[in-house]
Symmetry: C2
């Protein structure tokens, strides 16, 4: 893979927002981009053709989940993640690190790596830089992530320092272990909300030279302002000509504020998880579909939206599906919410292309913050 | 609505199978036809555009379920069932009778009608010929059904006789009450497996003159042979120029044997209910997707099938979804099974058009009976 995997096409004249294209083995991704999450091989309730229809460009799958079931051997034997997930477009896998620290029962962690018990069946696993890279090489995603140590919020200073040290050492080992030139290996900047640690981590990772950089350990409870302060500080420490990925983010306001600071990629469970729970994202604020006020509403969930939910169904019907446990409800709102997020990203890409992102964000950011109370 | 709502286009030269067209207020239905079931406003897990893609022509909704929730007033206020279900093609509603006898807690039934408590919340309801017709008039389906008394299997002779007597009386009352000329009101022949009672019931209903006739009280435990014997006896008692609908049927063999005897319409939960449970219908027999044998299979569920499941996913992935509770499994197999049933009906329509249905059925019926052990 040549150096030119990422091209910045436009930069907004009044902020750091940029419009780019990331070239992967399975196609070009227009950035800023939001990646739907297909944790265990599928974006829950949404078919690949429906993801294509909403112009999703790249989806995320979780290494940790595939490791546990069905197991990496099976996916590899069948031809890799693209075949397994029926998605012939770009895929990104995380390294498993985040789930090891958030989901699994951690038995031991040291500079070598992590030993943990699966949250499903208690089976013992070992994950470290080399194993996480090998697994991701075998799963075959287009973009893979370095194994990192993610810290909670709040975390002790000593914890943050150890995490940063290990994250950098592990990134070097991942780069060394990486054995598939078709896959882009991104490094992850850790350091919590400690800006000096973010600086150290970013600089050391940049010295190692990766084709892309993520920020991890955010959206873990620190709140919008601390998160954006950290993003604002860290983004300029990363190379201008490499994609920047803010992991696990976020709300509409989080996305807008981060794009303004030069972030190119996002993933988040919000649209699908909230959708399954009856929470609809719209440009005029949340709509909670279980509420009685929708019982006889003939409006679509979001007027003007062209998703399979809004094109066809009344709020009354969607509310009926949620109230009475019909699987149609979670399906329809997952489709709607993902469509909303894709539309929001398209609006941002257009605003950057027009050189008007700053003005657009100045109007939309406070509006979305207030609507979604972030 | 003119008398010519049903046209027989071809009759197989060697059996009673016929190829027809039923004209409704929302379009023409090619028969023999299989109707997917959208009990509570949705074919579970399947979107309207997916039903269109598999060429489903008419779907069934359950009056009993709509009565209980969200209630008929809401559906009517919003513009009727087609709008509520986001289905601008033909819809058939049953009368609620079957659910009153199978799902609800029946408090009292007499010649007037039925008093019962909802299986959901115990609320008291009253259903009779006039109420069931009025509800269906207000829901606005294209085809509606007379309120009937459905008998279990086995049933006492006296029970069967009372049910037939009431079913005929109620049919006359339904016809009298029916107040929407755009809807086709079908009568239902009851009588269990008692052929004399079927004769009596059929003749009396034919004298009342309906635009279509159904057979009810079958597929309730009597088995394939008794069911087909009853169909074979009853179908010729019904007018040649009216559609014949076998309610709640059935397996592939049930469908083939019934089409051979001149049945035009079917509905059944089998494809969707079995699909949700990991049971796939294929032309080479059932495939139980939870089985370990599929764990690393790169075959589609049914080779050659063009459904969204078989076009895209390996058996390994579908098995993974079922084994680990991913909603994708039930969605994909519901799509596949409904596609299989639509394909089977198309095969039958083509065989009739070619004048070769009898030969086709002689080959396929024993094969499907043995594959699906009916």
């Amino acid at each position: 893979m040549s150096e030119r995997v990422f091209q910045v096409l436009n930069v907004d004249p009044n902020c750091h927002a940029r419009r780019g294209q990331l070239t992967t083995a399975h196609g070009v991704v227009d950035t800023p981009v939001f990646m739907p999450i297909g944790t265990a091989g599928a974006v829950k309730g949404v078919l690949p053709e429906q993801l294509e229809a909403m112009e999703a460009q790249v989806i995320l799958a979780n290494t940790y989940h595939f490791m546990i079931r069905p197991g990496v051997d099976i996916v590899q034997k069948l031809g890799g993640l693209h075949r397994f997930m029926a998605w012939d477009h770009p895929i990104l896998t995380d390294s498993g690190g985040y789930q090891v620290f958030s989901l699994a029962s951690l038995n031991r962690i040291d500079d070598e790596g992590a030993h943990f018990a699966s949250h499903i069946d208690g089976r013992q696993y070992h994950l470290n830089a080399e194993i996480a890279t090998d697994i991701q090489n075998r799963l075959g995603a287009d973009i893979i992530m370095c194994f990192d140590q993610c810290t909670p919020f709040p975390a002790k200073q000593s914890e943050l320092e150890i995490a940063v040290k290990r994250t950098v050492q592990w990134a070097a080992r991942c780069k060394q272990a990486h054995a598939n030139a078709k896959q882009l290996l991104f490094a992850i900047v850790q350091g919590g909300t400690d800006l000096d640690l973010r600086t150290t981590c970013a600089q050391q990772l940049v010295d190692l030279d990766f084709p892309g950089y993520a920020m991890g350990g955010l959206s873990v409870g620190e709140g919008h302002d601390h998160m954006i302060a950290t993003v604002t500080h860290t983004a300029p420490l990363l190379p201008l000509d490499k994609p920047r990925y803010l992991m696990g983010v976020g709300t509409p306001a989080d996305l807008i504020a981060s794009v303004r600071e030069g972030i190119d990629m996002f993933d988040c469970v919000l649209p699908t998880r909230n959708g399954r729970n009856g929470f609809a994202f719209t440009e005029n604020g949340p709509v909670r579909m279980r509420n009685a006020v929708h019982a006889d509403s003939d409006m679509p969930v979001e007027p003007g939206c062209n998703c399979p939910c809004c094109k066809n169904y009344t709020r009354a019907a969607v509310r009926h599906f949620f109230k009475y446990g019909e699987i149609q409800g979670p399906i329809l709102l997952s489709l709607h919410n993902l469509t909303f997020f894709q539309r929001l990203m398209r609006q941002m890409r257009s605003a950057i292309e027009a050189g008007q992102f700053k003005a657009w964000a100045d109007e939309q950011l406070p509006r979305y913050r207030s609507l979604y109370e972030t």
